[in-house]
Each structure stands twice: as C-alpha cells, then as structure tokens.
Symmetry: C2
Subunit: 247 residues, 2 copies
C-alpha cells in the first residue's frame, strides 16, 4: 500500500488518463476499457465501483449491474444483453456481474443443461478476443472474499437496520453452495484466463487493499494505453483575432 | 459559500441521500431525479457534472450528453431520443444538453420551420408534467456565463494545446449569434418555467460558486424527497442462526 501522498498522485493520474482516453476518442480514437467485476456476495463489487471507479467522475464511464435476466433477455443468446452495454470509443465500461454469471450461477443451479453451459467458455473466449481486436482492453477482476469474512459481513448487515435492504435471505442459500461456486470459479479461471483477456484475482477480505488494488489495475491499464489528447490543426492566430474584444 | 467543514458535511449528506434514493427503489419506490443542464459553450456543464454530480459515485447515476441528432433520431419526434435516456426508479439522470436544444440551436439556426418549433414549448411542458406525475423530480439548471467570460475561457483553451481537443472553431460562429441565443433562452425561461418543473439560473462566471450552487440544488432536492431505506421484514434471529459457524 502506498503513502497518502503517493495515493493522491496516483488518483490524480487516473483521472487525467481517463480524460485523455475520452479526449482521444473525440479525435477518432477507438480504444476503450471494459472492467468486469465478479465475486461472491459481500465481496465488494459495489465498494470497488464507488471508491476505485468513482475516481473518474461520471463523464466517459458507464456502469451496468447485470441482474437476473428478464424474459426478453433469456429469449436471446446469453451475450445479447452484454453486447448492448459494451463501452463505446473512449469509454470505460464497468460490469458489475457479467456474462460470467452464465457459467457461474447458471452452472451451480443447473439453469440450463450442462451441454449448453459447457460451450459457453469457448464462446466467451471468442467474444472477448473480438472485443480486444476491436480496441477494447478487457480487465477481468475476481474479488475473492473468504468464507469466514463473508459470514462476518452478512452478520454485520443483519445488525444494522439501515443495511437490511441489501440483505437477501437467498444469499444464505447461495452461501450453502460455496463449494459448488468455488468449483465454478475455478473452471472460469482455468478456461477463460486467456492472453487476450487474463483474470486478476484480488483478495477482498480487506476493503482498503481491495479498492486500492483495483484502482491500481485501472491506473496501470490506462498508463499502458498512454492515451493522447488529439491535436486538431487549429489556426490559433486567426481564432484569437476573431475573439478580439469589440472596440 | 459555506465553510470547508460545512461543505464536507453537505457533500457527505448528498452521497447518503443518493444511496437512500437508490435503496428506496429496491423496495419498490418509484421516485427519481432528472437534472437538466443547459448553457452556452464554456458555461461549465462538464465541470458541474464532474464536481457536483461526481459526489454521488457511479452507482445510481446515469449521464447522457446529447449531441447533434443522428439521422435516425431526426426521423423521430424530438422527444424520442430523450425518452430513451430517462432515469429509472431510484436513479439520478443527468442530461448535458437536452430537449431544450430543440428550441435553442434549432430556433437560432432555423433548422425546422418556426411553425414547428413554436409548438415545442407546450410539448415540453406536457412532457415534463408527465415525468413529474410519474415520480420524477425535474431539476432544470441554466448555467449563465457572460459574454466576456466566455471570451476569456475560449482564449484560455487556445493558449493550451492540451485543451485544443475541446475547441471547435464553430463555437466562435455560435458566439456571433449571442443575441439570438439570449432571445431563445429568454423564451425558454418564460415559456417553460412551470410549477411542475421550474428553471434555476445559476451564474457560471465563477467555477467554485457554480459547482457549489448546483451541488446545493441537488442536495436540497434530495433532502426534500427524504428517501428512506426499505425495511424488509427479515427474521433476523433465524438468519443469524443460519450464519452460525460450523462446529
């Protein structure tokens, strides 16, 4: 973990880099970033969005929380609703859950036959390769909370009436399937950890570390893209003259 | 302008109120907020979004910048593309430019016949009344920059190569029509300043004041809504027992 001064510098750099990425697109740049956040309940996807992604401000950032699919969404291929929310040029798209739910909750609960979800790992890899080929940097983060810390966090929600709205009794049923989810996550990490779109596993038992680690991944990703302000060919002298005050 | 301590308190309250508004919707609440930002170039719509709206964080906030309409958008009624970006329950929608462009730039440049744009004031009032009836608080802000300060800001952009990407030579043509725009804004303020959706004119020559004033409008709007966390009927004792550690 960095010093406070270092952290302030890094956060300012993140905001600056994001503005450059956005600016670059106004000059025709096609590059963009997609942050995919996955993790068990209480892992802190929302906290990461608020504290790491929040550094960027609202312009140029698009956040999508994928919930249980609607009837219309289920009538289409599992990537249909995902494609509709992909970031445009210059944007940072943030997926709070994603197409990975279609090989996680879907696999754990047998929501489609195994023959169907089995084909999805390859489909996901092809999809992400297509995104990368089109100028998207795909940053996949698995927030890894431990079984014991999840218990503590659920108990804390129960102890605070103002947090009850976040508590879904079904979360405890999901927790009972911890081993099944671990197996499903293992398969994801093994089968979709590609060169084009690798996974980052971020320990999520400590909130400050978790938020910093994701911010740092975003900062490094943007620094590597090294986006540049467009340099339009302005006739500065003429434009200055046209802005001269009236006599 | 408040003291720093007061400001920190107010910003924390803004973030808390926004979370409550979002939380309320998860319990079935239908209320939502739409912030409409209008103003001449350099008035600081983007600055307000970054510094005032940015206090909320990405979750529960949806930002839309309306550009020159596409061919598809022009083939529809002028409110068509607006309706597609209206905030859902619990959300704060932010419009950077809006349906008001259809009685501003459109009127100044005669993009449609007068007989057509003349009907739009009533159409806008009816539309906004419909939004209010459906649970939307419509907050319309006109950022009022002066002719001289606009000149200073355009000159400053010209002086900084890293700001050239924001400089559109056409902005100077628009500036030459300052009186026409003033007349068009006067008509907007006169004809669409309804009880259901009043206008707020915020002086925008001073950035700090401008950002604070819009933040304060948002804070007061949310405080008046007084959104509440849902209180789901949880059987806390049973849920706690289910979370007991294994022996």
């Amino acid at each position: 973990m960095p010093t406070t001064k270092r952290l302030e510098h890094d956060l300012a750099q993140m905001a600056d880099l994001q503005e450059r990425l956005w600016a670059e697109s106004t000059g025709g740049g096609q590059r963009r970033v997609l942050l995919v956040l996955q993790g068990m309940d209480t892992a802190g996807k929302g906290g990461v969005v608020t504290h790491a992604v929040g550094v960027f401000g609202p312009i140029g950032v698009e956040y999508t929380a994928f919930k249980k699919p609607t009837e219309e969404e289920r009538a289409h291929d599992f990537l249909w609703r995902i494609r509709k929310r992909l970031p445009g040029p210059g944007m940072i798209g943030v997926f709070d859950r994603s197409h990975y739910e279609d090989v996680l909750v879907v696999r754990v609960h047998d929501l489609v036959p195994k023959s169907e979800w089995e084909t999805r790992y390859d489909a996901i890899n092809a999809f992400e390769q297509e995104l990368v080929d089109g100028g998207t940097t795909v940053l996949k983060v698995f927030l890894h909370v431990s079984y014991d810390v999840q218990r503590e966090r659920l108990l804390r929600r129960l102890a605070r009436p103002d947090k009850h709205w976040k508590f879904n009794p079904a979360d405890i049923d999901e927790r009972a399937r911890w081993d099944d989810y671990r197996a499903a996550y293992d398969a994801v990490l093994e089968r979709t950890n590609t060169d084009a779109a690798p996974w980052y596993v971020v320990p999520a038992d400590h909130k400050t570390y978790r938020n910093w680690a994701v911010a740092e991944l975003l900062r490094e990703t943007l620094a590597e893209l090294d986006p540049r302000y467009p340099q339009p060919d302005l006739d500065v002298a003429t434009l200055r003259a046209r802005l001269a005050p009236p006599h």
